[in-house]
């Protein structure tokens, strides 16, 4: 199982506080050989973002174009469906980053 309902449920409150927060890309890479659960999404960019609060996070970059893959690009935290669940598992929503 990719993640369990209990772990998802524990994480929810924290995820809520991050929606809409802005930050900038510190580092980026393009994952071309993914872990099993992420195969349908590959290739996709993974970024380290520094939020304006100073907190750093790692996440997927979404709704991106080539020109967005630069250090310093401003992004916002959005909530997206993880899409790693199978047909019977509970759904997982998580923070990803979208270029502003």
């Amino acid at each position: 199982m990719s993640t369990t309902p209990v772990k998802l449920w524990r994480r929810q409150k924290h995820t809520t506080t991050l929606i809409g927060k802005k930050g900038k890309i510190l580092l980026w890479t393009m994952i071309r050989v993914p872990a099993k659960a992420f195969a349908p999404q590959a290739p996709y960019p993974v970024v380290i973002v520094e939020l304006s609060s100073g907190v750093r996070m790692m996440g997927q970059l979404v709704d991106w174009q080539e020109k967005d893959l630069v250090v310093g690009r401003i992004v916002t935290a959005v909530i997206r469906r993880s899409r790693v669940e199978d047909t019977e598992e509970v759904l997982s929503y998580q923070i990803k980053f979208k270029p502003l």
Partner: protein
């Protein structure tokens, strides 16, 4: 108390389809005992370094499995620290002897990766990272790719410069019959290999491998067992944040800097005194940064120095990764840390044949877990 390395051995590293984990353990252990003039009953404890057995094969409890293979039911302790499992197993074994409880200890590093799909292995290796990193869809190469990007940005280093690491290690590997890859490659070969996680390409990355390595170490008079024992001058460990994004630097592994500093101090030497080193090149960038963190190159110069031949056998004074490193020799995760020790022992004894580094007196092993979460540094010296 002085602790010495007696005999050691490695199996061939590679895609060993017909060889089971138990076969690997038996081969490495029996050879290490033979080279130590010992029988299994002479061993007081076994330490096992392994990362993926439970994750991929659902086999935990490895201490007992290895004891069963050895045929003596002595204390058996399994140690895990991702890719530093081997080095940490040795460190733990050393402390077992220092405690006074054990005298002669067998340390085995072992990994069987090719029984599983590369998908499962990619997923399994991310057990070395954090939940945040896994949910972000990061892979192990992805984490080091982020480090590579930071390094290339900060120091103006190119992908071609980094490729020099793999080129050097394949050259060394071509001289090692136990290595997974024994043919040299060029920078052009690295540049045209397929991209794994930008900017890292296939030939920037160590392979998926099977293999085992074992050493016997002793706290009593080593000459009783071996004509040329090797002294362990330092065994130091340091850790850092689990997540890459929480580190204070993306271009240096502070766990390595810390552990190396401690190790040099305990051994009473400086980096310039090291003659031969086995550096943890899980990815080309890892060796570039490791070379700097260990004090062998100035900051930002690691990749360029390697590419210029500064650490190549026959060219450089200090030779790094004469075994072929993780890239060419192979990286059966838990085995690597012990393989490094076996290689260094042979170098210091003058028995490394075609790979022999001239007048090697002091050796250093650099074994890193995860993206720099844990570093184990061993310094070995001839008597």
């Amino acid at each position: 108390m002085k602790i010495h390395i007696l005999g050691g051995a490695t199996t061939k590293f590679g895609e060993l389809w017909g060889v089971s984990p138990r076969d690997l353990a038996r081969e490495a252990m029996s050879q290490a005992l033979l080279h130590s003039s010992m029988k299994p009953k002479d061993i007081d404890a076994i330490f096992v370094g392994n990362m993926l057995s439970g994750i991929l094969g659902n086999q935990a409890n490895l201490g007992s499995l290895i004891a069963e293979e050895l045929g003596v039911f002595v204390p058996a302790i399994r140690v895990e620290a991702a890719c530093a499992s081997g080095g940490l197993a040795l460190h733990t074994a050393i402390n077992g002897i220092r405690s006074g409880q054990y005298k002669n200890v067998l340390v085995v590093g072992i990994e069987k990766m090719t029984d599983h799909s590369s998908d499962d292995v990619t997923t399994g290796l991310m057990a070395a990272g954090s939940d945040d990193e896994r949910s972000a869809g990061a892979t192990f190469p992805g984490l080091y790719a982020l480090i590579a990007r930071a390094y290339m940005q900060e120091y103006g280093v190119t992908e071609e410069d980094l490729a020099g690491v793999s080129v050097k290690n394949h050259y060394h590997g071509s001289l090692n019959v136990k290595a997974q890859f024994q043919s040299p490659i060029t920078v052009a070969d690295v540049m045209k290999s397929s991209r794994i996680a930008d900017p890292l390409k296939l030939l920037d990355c160590s392979p998926i491998s099977d293999g085992a390595a074992a050493v016997v170490i002793t706290g009593e008079n080593p000459k009783k067992w071996h004509k040329k024992p090797i002294a362990i001058s330092a065994s130091e460990v340091a850790s850092d944040t689990l997540s890459l994004h929480k580190r204070s630097s993306f271009t240096s592994l502070s766990a390595v800097v810390k552990a190396a500093k401690q190790a040099y101090a305990v051994a009473g030497i400086a980096s310039k005194d090291v003659d031969v080193a086995e550096i943890h090149d899980c990815f080309s960038i890892a060796e570039a940064i490791g070379t700097e963190d260990l004090g062998f190159s100035k900051k930002g110069m690691g990749a360029k120095d390697i590419a210029a031949g500064k650490f190549t056998l026959g060219i450089g004074k200090l030779v790094t990764n004469p075994s072929g490193g993780l890239k060419a020799c192979g990286h059966p995760v838990g085995a690597t840390g012990i393989k490094q020790i076996v290689e260094l022992s042979e170098q210091l004894r003058g028995t490394a044949g075609k790979r022999q580094v001239e007048k090697a007196r002091i050796g250093l092993a650099h074994n890193v877990g995860g993206s720099g979460t844990l570093a184990v540094i061993h310094i070995l010296s001839t008597l």
